[in-house]
């Protein structure tokens, strides 16, 4: 059960401004049946072509997509086009008293349709739109490279949403844009984009040191086992204990689910490879009872 605010619920059950405007000045359409949500936004301007006098919408989507569209049309009335363009997806969410984070993409869709409508009206280049038609870019000449193939979302659009909403995790990016919510294949790329926007480079891959004293080596082996290996085993209900280090020989005993597990031989090799990658090339892992 989604936890919607009473305002979201009201705009879903009694949506304002549903329909079309036959002589609309601007129309913006984003999304597709394949994506699971779509919005067509109609704007009518006053005689001076300055202010929005009427806004209507048609939406295919979930409750919060319908509520976000309804909220947007209410917010637009009486605004100049420049004032309208200043509306962010967060403003739409705020108007509704907040949206569950998983549903923020609905507010992004509203903001996006608005940008498309105004850009088309002004004869400007279309913004890099996230939503597509049948998994191909909605606008072939849109800026950027498609990152999420499932939903046809470009890097330029993702960076904009990451920056505006100060997103820090791939999960948040999925909630706001849907990118990564299909096959998940683009999640590594999304992480890179977050790092780029945050002005940070992704962490350098750790390398094993050139030379090591015995003392330092033993210390590093313990560290790698504690920080890199045991948490992985815990995830599967297993564990291991370091029994002894003798030169390149590292003796471990498997515990819990790993003890007597059919694949403990495989697990030993994984542990060995990790230690070889991060500590010293010649490490040999031995499984001992104990």
């Amino acid at each position: 059960m989604w936890d919607y605010t009473p305002i979201v619920k009201d705009h879903f059950l009694n949506p304002r401004n549903v329909g079309d405007i036959a002589d609309a000045d601007a129309v913006g359409e984003v999304g597709s049946l394949a994506c699971g949500d779509a919005l067509k936004l109609y704007l009518k301007l006053d005689e001076q072509k300055e202010r929005i006098v009427e806004a209507k919408f048609q939406t295919f989507g979930c409750a919060s997509a319908i509520a976000s569209s309804s909220a947007l049309t209410e917010m637009l009335k009486g605004k100049t086009l420049d004032e309208a363009l200043a509306i962010s997806n967060q403003d739409i969410a705020d108007f509704l008293g907040g949206l569950p984070e998983e549903k923020m993409h609905c507010s992004v869709m509203g903001q996006e349709a608005l940008e498309v409508a105004i850009a088309k009206y002004r004869g400007h280049e279309l913004p890099a739109s996230a939503h597509d038609h049948e998994h191909a870019p909605a606008y072939p000449d849109q800026e950027g490279v498609v990152v999420c193939k499932c939903f046809g979302i470009t890097d330029v659009f993702l960076k904009k949403v990451i920056e505006t909403n100060r997103l820090t995790t791939a999960e948040q990016v999925t909630h706001f844009t849907k990118a990564g919510g299909g096959c998940g294949g683009c999640i590594p790329r999304i992480k890179e984009l977050i790092a780029e926007v945050m002005g940070k480079q992704p962490e350098e891959p750790r390398k094993r040191p050139e030379k090591l004293s015995n003392m330092k080596k033993m210390q590093m082996i313990q560290e790698v086992l504690e920080k890199d290996i045991r948490p992985l085993l815990w995830a599967d209900g297993g564990d291991l204990e370091l029994i002894d280090i003798d030169g390149p020989k590292v003796q471990v005993a498997f515990r819990k689910a790993c003890a007597g597990c059919a694949s403990s031989g495989y697990t030993s090799r994984v542990v060995e490879q990790k230690l070889r990658d991060l500590v010293a090339e010649d490490i040999v892992v031995e499984e001992v009872a104990g």
Binding site: W2, F12, L13, P15, V18, D20, E29, L33, A34, G36, D37, A38, L39, K40, Q58, T59, F60, G61, C62, A63, A65, I66, E102, K103, E134, C150, F151, T174, K178, G181, G182, D236, C261, A262, S263, Y266
Partner: protein, 391 residues
């Protein structure tokens, strides 16, 4: 607002008689069944009785019944055990439409170096038996296929599949969580080695499951510790829930015919009336053999969550294979595996009935759902084009 509960594949009401059966085992007869004294012994006898009742519903022997905490635990235990029993077999076979309790575990095995094959289904959700035949090999440790699908109710030919698996020496497990209590199951004449069931799908409480383990099937326990369940599942028995499940299984046996006559008739009426009243809809798996209580219908040009919430406003509880309700963003893996067209993959609604479902409740849904679909189609840009085309 009185609820109209049509989401029985998600969970069911605990039968009043089941609740009465378990009630004394909390505050009065709370002994540990493993204790030597009379106070524990009287609980042990009720647990034994429950084991017999579960076995009777499955056509099994009481010693083949292992109580667990849930269907998911049973599924996990079955698959993990098979891999430990056959350390040299590195191939696991399942289907693309399994419950996450099986699918997630199988997919996690890939990282551990296992080969995992997921058998596909056709447009009606029927298992590709030819693919199964072609793919089972001497390297296969276990084939795990659901008895009936939770979203569509489509029934798999598990006996035939078990025979194929056994011919190559693999173990066969079936997640029968949705099937038990709805269709007859007889393990006496079966080649299935392991089977999972869950209490709360058949009017017992949540938190109790069973792993059926055929006599002679090699098994390595998932939970180790005490000697409970003949050391096949350590941990103090959830005695009250076990006793409840025993009663629920007894009632399921008594109601089996009703499930396949009265409940099925209501389901058929619901689905036929909805199909007659709502254009551009299709029954997911409608051409396949299905559970008597389940119908999943996809409506073009509308989105499932919006339908569910409008139904919920009227007290009607259903479920959707749609993306937006599950926290993931793509339509359900089951509908995708079936190749349901994208025009309606987002707008599927599942109704799952029980023996408590009344004709009045079904009438309410038949009356209320068509205007909801119409209303959402009028709001949807695609629906409006479609309605215009209709005149």
């Amino acid at each position: 607002m009185k609820e109209i509960y049509l989401d029985n594949n998600a969970t069911t009401k605990v039968d009043e008689a089941v609740f009465e059966e378990m009630r004394p085992y909390f505050c009065e007869m709370y002994g540990n069944p493993s204790s030597m004294h009379f106070f524990g012994g009287q609980v042990q006898r009720k647990v034994d009785e429950a084991r017999g009742r579960v076995a009777a519903l499955l056509g099994a022997s009481p010693d083949e019944i292992v109580f667990t905490a849930c269907g998911t635990e049973s599924d996990n235990a079955a698959i993990r055990s098979a891999l430990e029993v056959f350390p040299d077999r590195r191939h696991v076979i399942t289907s693309r439409v399994e419950h996450p309790a099986v699918l997630t575990q199988c997919r996690n095995l890939i990282q551990k170096g296992y080969r995992v094959s997921e058998i596909g289904v056709d447009g009606e959700g029927r298992l590709d038996m030819e693919e199964l035949k072609a793919i089972v090999d001497e390297d296969t440790a276990i084939v795990s296929l659901m008895w009936a699908n939770n979203e569509t109710g489509v029934i798999f030919p598990v006996e035939e599949a078990a025979a194929i698996a056994k011919a190559k020496g693999a173990l066969f497990h079936s997640d029968a969580v949705q099937a038990v209590g709805k269709i007859p199951i007889n393990m006496a004449n079966s080649r299935i080695d392991m089977l999972s069931l869950s209490g709360h799908k058949l009017h017992a409480p949540k938190g109790i499951g069973v792993l059926y383990l055929r006599r002679g099937t090699p098994f390595r326990p998932f939970m180790v510790g005490g000697h409970q369940e003949k050391s096949r599942r350590a941990g103090t028995e959830n005695a009250a829930a076990i006793i409840a499940l025993g009663k629920a299984c007894e009632l399921a046996g008594l109601n089996m015919e009703l499930e396949n006559t009265q409940v099925m008739a209501l389901r058929d009426r619901l689905q036929n009336e909805l199909m007659a009243r709502i254009p551009n809809a299709r029954i997911n798996g409608g051409g396949a053999e299905r559970l008597p209580n389940t119908t999943s219908i996809a409506y073009e040009y509308v989105e499932g969550e919006a339908i569910l919430l409008l139904l919920s406003e009227l007290g009607v509880c259903a479920s959707s294979g749609s993306a937006c309700t599950s926290g993931s963003l793509e339509p359900s893996h089951v509908l995708r595996a079936m190749g349901v067209p994208f025009t309606c993959a987002h707008g599927s609604i599942r109704f799952s009935l029980s023996r408590y479902t009344t004709a009045e409740e079904i009438d309410t849904v038949i009356r209320e759902l068509p205007p909801i679909i119409e209303r959402l189609r009028r709001m949807s840009p695609f629906g409006r084009e479609f309605l215009k085309g209709q005149g």
